[in-house]
Symmetry: C2
Subunit: 673 residues, 2 copies
């Protein structure tokens, strides 16, 4: 939280002893005054900007200082002036450690002296006194230098006053002296920005991941019979073959019997209904146990192992809530709210009751024990090899709990990844991300028009949010069958797959509902009918019309093109048709450029011009250049900044074009990331 600031009496002695003439303002990135860290993954870079200026006449220099938090010395890189007192520089994240950065400025007396000397020389004004002044500045610097540098500076100081005037001037203005002086400026006259800003660094997968959510219990060998981990493991290679790298499992804990929901969320259930996995806890155990019908702890360990062998990581569902049968209710009644009539306070959104779900009372007097126990659930599963946690409804629990528990878990498991499942107001979603969540669900699911996509992605990629909020785009989830996918045909599913996987470096699907183009809603709701949350499904994974081939290709394109492994590099292109959305992503050096053009109308062929900023991308404007569609394999030759496209949704909903720069850009686009 912010620090308390009070009105301070000015104090001459204190003010005057520091008397720094340099002001450093507006250092960015900086989240809420530096209270929260920015986020990066290993291999990313951080572009730092600041306003640095001084009173008086001296020229100003600025350095970016950065280090791993664990290092004791700063690395230094000179900042580049952008004019009007704005400066810029960047540094790279090389290790999976947190970094800190700040800015140092100094008024450079010697640089100002050189500047004035040049003007005197140009005006043919003799400058013997000035050479003496310069010599004194060099002597002072020599006093701060050591060894060879000191000797060199001393000899320079002497030459400036002893040598012939013309030679002395030449020596005074030499680049070598300038550099040497720059290395030995008076640190006491420099100003350090008073905040050390923090970069929270995650492993690479935090920034680039493809999630596949599925219910293992639907993958038994006999259709309709509760599946086990052993049985479900057989589909892991198939998911891996589609190019996904994270398997997200709904809760795998014992499911409560009390108030168990039936098919389609019915309030009564038949004896064979399996119940919602989110009603955690029964006589068989709670958040550290495994639902007996899925297998044993040993079976789960084997499942994790098999996933690993397929280069798949398991993402675990953390749903901090209990069924009324959860052992916690008896063992720790103080962790829940009890009503005056002696019954437990179940979840409610009046007049609706969710009697199968009991929330924790995070404000209970016994909360230290509660919070510690919840933390131990993360630690328990992390020790079982699970390092990715998808957290259910985090916004209904205290922000401060997440701030604390995520930081605690990361102390022990720095590779832990936390995905916040919060579909609520923007400030709340952002606050969860600031507090430590690695990735976040987004509003992608409800963005449809070109304007909506451009505005939302510009917010995510080009505001402060891009520094701490890592979007994860989901076209569907077991909870959400968005209106545009209800009764929709294949092109709609392909379109959402292209959008999710190329706009956001992190994306996920709930399968196989998604790749099978499952499109039947529960009437009047944005939900699936016969929802898998409440029943065991038998999926025909090779069902006609599925889009497994498209997903496989998209994941391959994502792996092979690093431009798609970042989200905050997305920029939009102008198009002449509102049904045609176009955007590009590039690496900071523009060695990899992907241009995506999508027909947002799944029902009709749409065409129009797309404006491609060739100059920005480093492509010569007046010669033909190749454009390779990685999705269809087609190779085009384009000319000029305006390209005509026509997309028939049945044939191909989108172009995913690889462009190649053919000139080194000679302009200032080097800091766009």
């Amino acid at each position: 939280m912010a620090k308390k600031v009070t009105v301070k009496e000015s104090n001459l002695k204190q003010t005057i002893s520091a008397h720094p003439r340099v002001i450093i303002e507006k250092v960015t990135p900086q989240i809420d005054g530096g209270i929260f860290p920015i986020k990066r993954v290993v291999g990313d870079r951080v572009v730092v900007r600041a306003n640095v200026f001084a009173d008086g006449h001296d020229q100003v220099k600025a350095d970016l200082l950065y280090r791993m938090a664990s290092e004791s010395n700063w690395h230094k890189t000179p900042m580049k002036s952008l004019g009007n007192d704005a400066w810029i520089a960047a540094f790279s994240i090389e290790e999976h450690k947190n970094y800190v950065y700040t800015v140092r400025g100094h008024a450079c007396e010697f640089s100002s002296w050189c500047h004035d000397l040049k003007k005197r020389v140009d005006a043919k004004r003799d400058a013997p006194v000035d050479l003496q002044i310069g010599s004194n500045l060099i002597k002072e610097a020599a006093g701060r230098a050591k060894g060879e540098a000191q000797d060199k500076l001393l000899s320079w100081a002497e030459d400036l006053v002893k040598k012939d005037h013309a030679i002395a001037i030449k020596l005074a203005l030499s680049e070598e002296l300038y550099q040497l002086m720059a290395e030995h400026f008076d640190l006491e006259k420099s100003v350090l920005y008073p905040q050390e800003l923090i970069v929270h660094v995650d492993r690479v997968r935090a920034g680039f991941s493809s999630w596949y959510e599925f219910f293992p219990r639907s993958w038994g060998e006999k259709p309709g019979v509760h599946g086990t981990f052993k049985e479900a493991a057989r589909i892991l290679p198939k998911i891996a073959a589609m190019g996904f790298d994270i398997i997200y499992l709904p809760p795998i804990h014992p499911i409560g019997q009390a108030f168990r929901k039936g098919k389609n969320n019915a309030t009564t259930c038949s004896p064979h209904d399996p119940g919602s996995p989110w009603a955690v806890g029964s006589k068989d155990g709670g958040h550290k146990a495994i639902h007996p019908q899925l297998g044993t702890m040993e079976d789960f360990r084997n499942f994790v192992k098999e996933a690993k062998q397929n280069n798949l990581e398991i993402a675990f569902d953390i749903a901090f809530q209990c069924s009324q049968d959860h052992p916690y209710l008896k063992e720790h009644p103080s962790w829940f709210s009890w009503r005056p009539d002696g019954t437990v306070q179940y979840a409610e959104n009046p007049p609706k009751k969710y009697e199968d779900i009991v929330p924790f009372n995070f404000e209970t007097k016994d909360r230290i024990a509660l919070w510690e126990e919840l933390k131990s659930i993360f630690i328990f599963w992390a020790k079982e090899g699970v390092r990715v946690f998808r957290v259910d409804n985090p916004h209904t629990k205290p922000f401060l709990f997440w701030d604390w528990v995520i930081s605690e878990v990361k102390k022990e498991f720095p590779d832990a990844i936390f995905l916040a499942e919060a579909f609520t107001r923007p400030n709340i979603m952002y606050r969860l991300a600031k507090g430590g969540f690695t990735q976040s669900y987004t509003y992608f699911t409800w963005r449809n028009t070109k304007k909506e996509f451009e505005e939302y992605l510009t917010e995510l990629a080009q505001t402060d949010a891009s520094e701490f909020f890592r979007p994860n785009f989901w076209p569907n989830t077991p909870d959400i069958l968005a209106e545009h996918l209800q009764h929709a045909k294949r092109p709609s599913f392909v379109m959402r797959a292209v959008l999710a996987s190329t706009m956001s470096s992190n994306f996920g699907i709930y399968g196989p509902a998604f790749e099978l183009c499952e499109n039947q809603p529960f009437p009047g709701k944005e939900e699936y009918v016969d929802n898998e949350k409440y029943e065991i499904k038998a999926w025909d994974w090779d069902r006609a019309g599925n889009i497994k081939d498209v997903l496989t290709k998209l994941n391959k394109i994502r792996r092979e093109n690093t431009a798609l492994q970042v989200t905050r590099n997305i920029r939009f292109c102008k198009t002449s048709n509102d049904q045609i959305l176009a955007y590009y992503k590039a690496t900071p050096d523009f060695s990899n450029i992907i241009l995506v053009i999508v027909n947002l109308d799944p029902h009709h062929t749409q065409s129009g011009h797309v404006e491609i900023p060739l100059h920005t991308l480093g492509i010569v404007n007046d010669k033909p250049y190749p454009a390779h569609d990685l999705l269809t394999g087609e190779k085009f030759t384009w000319l000029g900044e305006k390209t005509f496209v026509e997309l028939n949704p049945v044939k191909s909903v989108a172009h995913v074009i690889l462009l190649t720069k053919n000139v080194n850009r000679d302009h200032d686009f080097e800091y766009y990331l």
Copy 2:
């Protein structure tokens, strides 16, 4: 300066004992994280916005807290929700004291309970347990209440469980109970924004002033002979009659003889050249002395007295620099820089030399004595009744010196006003204002086109700058005859007078050069030829073509229309012609509305449509409404949002229209200031 923030280890015990669920973010106005105060004058108000939200389900409330810094208790005003977690409220500055403000939020359990109860009742669900829960909440609140309120709450708590169900429900949802509960919510569960943000409050003239700069020595009784305070006093009533309220005098101290500049800034001078008043100091004294040719200290006191009798205040020129004859050079050689050849370091901008001016070395080892002496200059003149200081070139002296000295002087003289004469880069001008300068010179002089005015005034009125930077618009100064006034005719001078006096609540002119439409430049420079800085002028104040009548009218309009006494209320209107600039200013309640329409082309008649936002201004759209031109006295009747205007620059350069609201606006414009 900002506080050092370090990476803190999270600590369960600490986190969990506070467990506030409310987050307060983006509290504005807030300058650089609250390091610097915002500025207001007595009578202004402060509109505060914040994002306030909570995790969990409870409804959130927010209060604006404010007080005079010297008060110990907060005043409280409930904030209004703007949706999406944004809240707004305002408070008024009633006394000439500094204020502080902050925001408090709390999750309101009782309010949430009422909300749920209503939904249960609507769904015809019986709620005996819920009434019991509500009763308990009321009992808890009673524990925090006293006297009558406590009794009332206890009886309510009892009624809720004892009375007939329908009656109990009605009681539970009564407005009276709701208010009582709101007054006794659990303060321990509320969250206070950790910063107390400061409002620096000045007297009214800091925000609304009309400056008139002139050289007393040019107003002797015999033309061309050095005038005295006694003689110059005779023009004070005439300046007052034009409606100005601040008389700004160039330095009145003894002028150096060494390197004295001659006519037109010549490096040699004749024995009769009076010298530049900015070359301060001679054998007759320094910054606390009066130039003998102007008179004695007693004469100055009388001049100040006569000014006061004319409702004029004296603004004193503070030029912290010395002529080579200044007594300081001998008495305090350590306050200056000395070159290796034993000569003093005079001002230089190589290859130009300003040998008549010696700057102080603010970084001298003896700087405590220097800074204290400079402070004593302010105090000396403040004790002589001068409370307005126009500071010459503050950006060449340390920011920290100004931060300190302004705060020191204001401790003793809270009514002191400081105007920063800095024409340099925006960040530097803004930093001086943040550090304490009351008013600031601006780029107004170099803004000419409609686009330039709209952009600049939008920056000054609608960004952070509006909170700490008080513009003072000068169409001319003794240093600046801008290109557009060189060889210009009367309409150009009238245009700049209208723009300066109606865009900015603080404006000034260098007279009588301005009102006499003096337009002869020094060839190739943005300066006057035969500059009054270097010679004694004999002005014919009644010269034909003067614009004294226009200035008199403009100052009268400014005094009579409070909308013009603020700068940050300026908003622009669309016009169909780029030569027609239109803007309005209104009081927060729209009881006074001034619409200004200016022809920016001094040579040709220009016409076009102006779009007047009638709805915003509270004027009915479908009926004729009166528009009264205060400049010409003409009365128009207009209809609708688009008005056609035609301005012949010779006849009238501008309309200054008084509009009158005729409906109470039923929408959300109440916080535009």
